[in-house]
Amino acid sequence: MSAGLSRAVNVLKEVIDAPIASYFNSCVHCGLCAEACLFYTESGDPKYTPIHKVEPLRRVYEQEYTLLGRLMKMVGLVKPLTDEELGQWQELVYDSCTMCGRCSMVCPVGNDIVYMVRKLREGMAISGHAPDGVVAATKRTVEIGSPMGVKLPAVKAQVGHIQDDTGLEVPMDQEGAEYMVLLSSMEIINFPEYLSAITRIMKQAGKTWTLCSTAFEATNSGIQIGVSDLARVIVSRIVDGAERLKVKTVISPECGRAYTALRWEGPNLIGRPYTFKVQHILEVLDEFRAQGLLKTQGFEEERLTFHDPCQIVRRGGVIEPQRNLMRMVSKNFVEMSDPSKYNWCCGGGGGVSANEDAEEIRLIAFKRKKAQLDEVKPDKMVTACANCRIVLEEGLEHYQMDLPVVGLTEMIAEHLVESEPGSQKE
């Protein structure tokens, strides 16, 4: 057994906890998880059945923690896990799993298959079987602070641009502000309109807010790759920044994975509760709406639909805010089939879009989204995740579908009632 494999098996033995043991014992092999996975439904290949993707973990469980399995291992009746098999499984654990959680949601016995995939990824990463792209992204996050190598000067460049664009100040390191706004690298690099929208919305709402020079990045690729130690480093950076600036609330941006990592997994990773609240930007905007702090005018004339990012909706529990906000600026909002927590993934989450090996299967999986869109025929698609947005645009381009994709925060800002310099539409 190679050193890498030995470490991987040890890690897998360690990560098998009571929930995982009960999941393997509870599985009734019904196949419902297969029908819930877009990689299976769109390819028709049974190897993409979610519970099959965690087969290496099941074998370690059986051989190490069950009486029959241990006896069979002792007399050579079961095959030990090999490095080659783990290598083959990379495609199933990383390329064709966005950890969207649809399989976990439909499982009739309550098995959280995503949880098992995450634990299996820990062993895969240790044994060197994580995709190069995802490993490099995680390394950059730890060393530089961003999976895409974004450094503070780039953020400052965008801040300068936004200040010119809006005529408003973008505060940095303002101690005692009510909100600390995080950005995803994707928003810094590709979508400056997000920060522009935040700046204008906060101005209208009359709220104090700030960016943090030591913790501007929200993306947690430690979660994607499945390495808890790295995920903890990334969360700790945000916690340190928020506590240094004494903010009341940290706002997670239009990035799905960032939200679940910070909101739901963060306190467990650092081993204590936060001293501040974490909200997704959609929750904050909906609060402003309910409090009468978000004043909009006019309605989108086109037929709009909303793509629910899995991590925000299904894994994150943010379901109604985006619908309230859509109705605020649209009279022609139409839901796709299987809406909200049942929505189908864009196909690029969980590190899949950073993984070049996954490109072909990702575009095959996109056929599900295409079918959903063909059914409702919208004029524009709105979403709230920068990664979804690019994956959707690429998929639409690949299938030659002429459909604009916009961010919800940005769309709300376009309808703000503004009267001072900085307004776009008056």
Partner: protein
């Protein structure tokens, strides 16, 4: 008309009709065009500058510029190549020149903002700080257009 800040710049652009906005936007893109090597972007600018450009030609140019914009996104988790990203924003600016107009749109302003982002990306790539003179250059382009 004197243009010395973005408020005046935006107001002046707002006064232009769509045809004029497209022409000025094309000039903004031309200023940063060396940052993008995609022929579809160049084709969009050329189309806009043609006096007799038809709606069909604009729609074709839009498709090309939009494809160039989408293909040049930096994908989630990839290491950022700031010069390539500058090219993305040039494609976005070119797309603004030829996009179908919606009520409330200020095509030229949007193109100007994307062109400035392109220049900012170039500055980040060169490690030369974040300031550049693209804004002032755009003021001059508009001034010359208005006084032609």
């Amino acid at each position: 008309m004197r243009i010395s800040n973005d408020e005046e710049f935006k107001a002046a652009l707002n006064e232009l009709d769509v045809y004029q906005q497209r022409r000025v936007a094309a000039a903004f893109v031309e200023s940063v065009l060396p940052l993008c090597s995609d022929v579809r972007v160049n084709a969009a600018v050329t189309a806009v500058k043609h006096p007799g450009v038809t709606d069909v030609e604009l729609a074709t140019a839009y498709q090309g510029a939009n494809s160039a914009r989408i293909e040049s996104f930096t994908q989630c988790g990839k290491e950022t190549d700031w010069l390539a990203q500058a090219g993305h924003f040039v494609a976005k600016a070119a797309q603004c020149c030829v996009k179908p107009v919606e009520p409330g749109d200020n095509l030229a302003w949007d193109a100007a903002m994307a062109a400035r982002m392109a220049r900012a990306c170039e500055s980040v790539a060169e490690g030369s700080g974040t300031r550049n003179n693209e804004t002032e250059k755009q003021y001059r382009i508009l001034y010359e257009h208005l006084n032609r």
